[in-house]
Symmetry: C2
Subunit: 426 residues, 2 copies
């Protein structure tokens, strides 16, 4: 039986979960995987945390050098998060020829090329299943399950915090602020929720996933990003009436004009399986030229789900000699070779506050027509105090045309305000 | 670049799809996988079919011996289906040291041990992603994505034909016979639909999937099987009123009392993501002790989806040296070591035709109580001609207790008929 030593850098939530899975399932993995895993050491400032988990004080390393010079350590698990010191630690581990398994999406989205080069140079493995969509084996699926396909699109609910908030707003009619507070109380959102609610976390994941899906270098700078802080319960309610559910989607499309990558609040048609992915669940919907539609659904975060992805990588690394490296040029130079679409097309949900006067419909529909936008659906609500709300769903239109129309609305007296503009996916 | 020769046995729907993917994506695979695939030869009686696909007549082998003795053939794809001659062909290929990729669920469910032994003895790979749930990479997920987990349950819609029929019955109020005819017209159901509608196909798949999920030998004989031929549109309509959708589920549970494996029509609560898997789509829902819930969704059949799974295996086989073999004793002897639960527990939907008399409710609820069955919900429909319909949803009850209650109903004058008994999953 193969004996494999593991070091864990960082004993936060995911580090603790990873440790527990490796220890609790030691005998199970001997039986089912023919591998005997031992957690050799950990790197963690809070020694008591390590002891509470069941480690000996002597297993708590004093420095990354102590970890990477330990000949019994074959695999280094990095679950510290953030760029530094994680990046320095990972590079040192790879330089020592240790295989690295990480859950660090920010590090990966920002510095993948450097890490991969170091891994290749030292014939070390670099595994990152846990960086995207927690326990859902989306990266394994892209690398080893859908290779036969040219992937045409990837659409995902890839951030659990925002999905929890949007589900709460939809189900309970809460405001964004109320739902955020509840998410913070339950530990789904951080005290400083920016990374989640402004879409940075989803952007990191989308850049990684779409690079793998399309075999092209896609950086976070290439991803259009819009968070959920401007979302209102009114929009969610209006969308519901029309058969749409609001989600923060990460969308990647591989079109004949180029790659399109964006993260933004999106109205998803209720017939789309993504619409019923609720609370802190995540899901990724892929379309491949051979396989057609595929969707993977599961928990995107948490000690054990993310630990499951890490240990899955640890087991894979222990059993295989041939490691995955990207087939595309993963360097900043590779990014220059990727063609992107900037003026993407989408359907739009547009909510207007209008004067309750005859001729309003013909006025704004005239503007749409001039801007080459065709309308799929219009709904006008009952008027109050001489004002009415109009909801328009457009057919596929280019972003630039929609912006032109919105600019023209500003000069129209009958349109009091463009209340909101939200993209729509069927 | 690695050059890999492929032979395809059988050019039916899936064989044709596999051929097309390998040929159409040759350049793409060179770029993304660093492998140059060539379809060296095919074994197919219908030579014209081969020529129509673009093969030379000289590439159509006259016998399996010609295929397996071809030194340029590294991987043999078997897509003939059925046990013979597929079994003989696969064994000959493995004996020659060729890696085999198959979509043949019947062969695999019935003869996996023999095939695996031959593969091991000849250090050949044996790949079978395409045998279960078409293009959905469920086997890759079980082997390489969820290894960190003790899997507790697997529940799946793993037959597209029956799901198409049941969806049609639910959406259009068709009878079983009408929906079957439409499925046959569209090519979703065979002229002789027995393998699908009687649950044999799902049983094959469930025995393979649950063996992998639970790391125990599970044979088709261990699977309780019940098809959809007795399903009525009335039951589907009554279920709908109570918030349930009828699906043919394959269910595997790893309980402390043993393994439970069964295929039968099941009312699935609409809150369960399986309830909204419609038409010919398939989905598998898994619960792992670490990862929690996961669901994979996609097309379970068809030339290109199944071809996608086959080519995914072909690429994996071309790139990896270490092949997967089961960690459990896969022999008939291994099956004796697996403990099974026979008297499984479930919630039940029971539809009774009763006399419209006072005291009916107390009569049958007395029987349930004596048989240790507690009732979750009762619904009585308006009566006609002195008869009424009563629907009962039970809490979790053992099968044997339910059978006792049903036997007692026969002697009760107020119960005219037990119209249907259908298991329920939340």
């Amino acid at each position: 039986m193969k004996k494999v030593g593991v070091a864990i850098l960082g004993l936060g939530v995911v580090g603790g979960g990873t440790y527990n899975i490796l220890v609790d399932n030691k005998e199970y993995f001997k039986k089912t995987q023919d591998v005997d895993f031992t957690v050799e050491c950990v790197l963690e400032k809070n020694v008591q945390r390590a002891i509470d988990l069941g480690l000996e004080e002597s297993q708590v390393a004093k420095s990354i050098e102590e970890v990477v010079s330990n000949p019994n350590v074959d695999i280094v698990v990095e679950v510290i998060g953030g760029v530094e010191p994680a990046k320095t630690f990972v590079l040192k581990a790879l330089k020592s020829g240790k295989t690295v398994v990480t859950s660090n999406k920010e590090l990966f989205a920002k510095h993948w090329p450097e890490l991969e080069t170091e891994a290749k140079n030292n014939k070390a493995g670099l595994f990152f299943e846990a960086s995207c969509v927690g326990g859902v084996p989306i990266i394994r699926t892209l690398i080893d399950g859908m290779q036969a396909n040219n992937i045409q699109s990837i659409k995902g609910i890839i951030n659990g915090t925002t999905n929890y908030i949007l589900t709460k707003m939809a189900n309970e009619g809460s405001s964004y602020e109320e739902a955020l507070k509840e998410a913070q109380r339950l530990g789904y959102a951080e005290f400083n929720p920016t990374a989640d609610v402004e879409g940075f976390d989803a952007t990191y994941k989308l850049s990684i996933l779409s690079s793998l899906a399309f075999n092209k270098k896609i950086c976070i700078e290439n991803v259009y990003r819009e968070g959920i802080t401007g979302v209102t319960k009114e929009d969610i309610a209006y969308g519901k009436e029309l058969g749409y559910t609001l989600k923060l989607l990460g969308i990647g499309k591989n079109t004949k004009h180029g790659i399109e990558v964006r993260v933004h609040p999106t109205f998803v048609a209720n017939s789309n399986p993504l619409a019923s992915v609720n609370d802190s669940f995540n899901a990724v919907h892929l379309v491949g030229d051979s396989v057609g539609e595929i969707m993977l659904y599961g928990r995107g975060a948490g000690a054990l789900p993310t630990g499951s992805a890490i240990v899955s990588d640890v087991i894979y690394a222990a059993k295989h000699e041939d490691f995955f490296y990207t087939s595309f040029d993963n360097s900043p130079n590779g990014n220059k070779q990727t063609k992107f679409v900037n003026d993407f097309t989408s359907k739009y949900f547009i909510r207007l506050s209008v004067a309750d006067e005859p001729g309003v419909l013909s006025t704004f529909s005239g503007v749409f027509s001039k801007c080459n936008i065709s309308i799929s659906e219009v709904k006008q609500t009952a008027c109050e105090n001489g004002k009415a709300t109009v909801i328009i769903i457009t057919h596929e239109s280019s972003e630039s045309n929609v912006n032109k129309a919105l600019a023209k609305f500003k000069s129209l007296k009958v349109i009091n305000k463009v209340e909101s503009v939200i993209r729509v996916e069927d």
